[in-house]
């Protein structure tokens, strides 16, 4: 278990090789497991990849910091849930936290309620410089504190990180404004 907890730390540190290792290590057994649910190989591979993604997201967002079972048990538990779900009527898989669903109800008319707007935001995010993307990724995806980001990216102070982050968010807003303006006028 210690070795696996160590693995989690390495993944959190950005080591994609470890993900590759996990992927290759459990793939065959996972597909055999899916076969017992009568799930076709193509779909099983897809589910396996999505399960690895959930595992990765739980590690990166610090939801999973240490294991109480083996990594394989954890991964297969995710996979089993996904397989059971795929056997039923397809449901939307977007995970909305308890509060966001409320937001969506209250502000349906607003800019952010639509999926396509998330996509526009994603496009805007891609247009940012590498430095901005990294700061935002650490903050919004890895849930890192300003202090942690300061240390990781070697900034002079927390305040510098904070203003850098604000600048990057502002850039996103500007790109979105421009996009909307262009669309309106084309």
């Amino acid at each position: 278990m210690d070795r696996e907890n160590n693995l989690i730390e390495q993944i959190r540190a950005g080591d994609k090789k470890e993900i590759e290792h996990i992927y290759n290590q459990h793939r065959e057994e996972f597909l055999a497991y899916a076969d017992r649910f009568s799930i076709q190989t193509d779909e099983a591979v897809d589910i396996y990849q999505d399960s690895i993604i959930v595992l990765y997201e739980n590690i990166m967002s610090q939801k999973l910091t240490s294991l109480t079972s083996s990594l394989k048990t954890y991964l297969f538990a995710i996979g089993k849930y996904k397989m059971l779900n795929s056997m039923k009527v397809k449901q939307p898989t977007e995970d909305i936290t308890a509060y966001e669903y409320l937001l969506h109800e209250e502000t349906d008319h607003e800019f952010l309620s639509k999926e396509e707007n998330i996509e526009k935001m994603q496009t805007a995010y891609r247009k940012l410089g590498a430095k901005c993307r990294e700061v935002l990724r650490l903050y919004y995806y890895e849930n890192q504190s300003l202090q942690e980001i300061m240390q990781k990216l070697d900034y002079a102070s927390k305040d510098v990180v904070k203003s850098q982050k604000s600048r990057c968010v502002k850039q996103i807003r500007e790109i979105l404004m421009n996009t909307r303006w262009t669309e309106k006028n084309s």
Partner: protein, 271 residues
């Protein structure tokens, strides 16, 4: 729970920006969540900013997801389809004795783990500490139904939910557990795991409740994060697994929530 009043907002030390930051990073306490709920109703700028940042978080998550998916697709190319079918045969041969139906039941592995935990718990209970159960009984109190009166969702979910909570309110916990278990498989019922665990705990099944509360597939809603940790700590305590309850209680104590005081007292009594 604290009834937030936006008029008194300045009494709280935290400013709006910090509230949003904590919400976005999943670090809000229940009390702060109440304030956020109020602000959303009353403060349009706050609502817009929160919506914008939630959207940004989702956009970045989507971007990361797509990146990783293409990385995995590349890896997949390294595995030939022929190798797959051969391996499948070998591995399925190894599993010949296993019964496919069993897999569909409520986690065989989990049950085995539960049996081990109960065994360990019983051993621990008999050998080490006769007080855990008493402590558990002192501190355990079923969580109130805070969902049913405001349930919204597709009709089928809504009606199962209403029935599940009716049973829960009538203390018919085994029947409620059955329905909550059905609801855990739905994406639009994020509270289901929590109340399934509640029903199991109320019925004395601490180990099974632990399994549910620790389910990696459960995206714990912000407002249930502290309650989830509290009941997980109690469930571990009940089976004598204080090593697991202690860090959870310490986390609650630090989180400055409505349960912080109780968590501290319980920690003291566990010493």
């Amino acid at each position: 729970m604290c009834q937030a009043n936006p008029g008194n907002f300045n009494e709280y030390e935290m400013d709006r920006e910090e509230l949003i930051a904590k919400y976005i990073q999943g670090k809000v306490t229940e009390q702060e969540l109440e304030i956020i709920r109020e602000l959303i109703q009353t403060d349009e700028d706050f609502r817009e900013e929160l919506a914008f940042e939630s959207g940004l978080r989702r956009a970045i998550k989507q971007e990361e997801r797509q990146d990783l998916k293409s990385f995995l697709a590349e890896l997949e190319k390294g595995h030939s389809s022929q190798a797959d079918s051969e391996n499948l045969q070998t591995i399925n041969h190894q599993h010949k004795g296993s019964n496919a139906k069993k897999i569909l039941q409520f986690s065989v592995l989990g049950k085995a783990a539960a049996v081990l935990l109960i065994g360990f718990g019983a051993w621990w209970f008999l050998n080490q500490s006769p007080d855990h159960n008493a402590l558990y009984n002192t501190y355990y109190e079923p969580y109130p139904n805070i969902v049913a009166p405001t349930v919204r969702g597709p009709e089928s979910t809504a009606s199962i939910t209403a029935e599940a909570f009716r049973l829960y309110d009538n203390k018919d916990f085994p029947a409620a557990a059955t329905l909550f278990e059905q609801l855990t498989k739905r994406e639009d019922a994020s509270y289901a795991h929590f109340y399934l665990a509640q029903s199991l705990l109320a019925d004395g099944h601490a180990s099974e409740a632990i399994e549910v509360l620790e389910d990696p597939n459960w995206e714990v809603p912000d407002n249930l994060r502290t309650p989830r940790n509290w009941y997980l700590a109690l469930a571990h305590l009940k089976i004598g697994n204080t090593e697991k309850s202690r860090p959870l209680l310490e986390q609650i104590e630090r989180a400055n929530s409505t349960k912080s005081g109780e968590a501290k007292r319980l920690l003291d009594e566990m010493k």
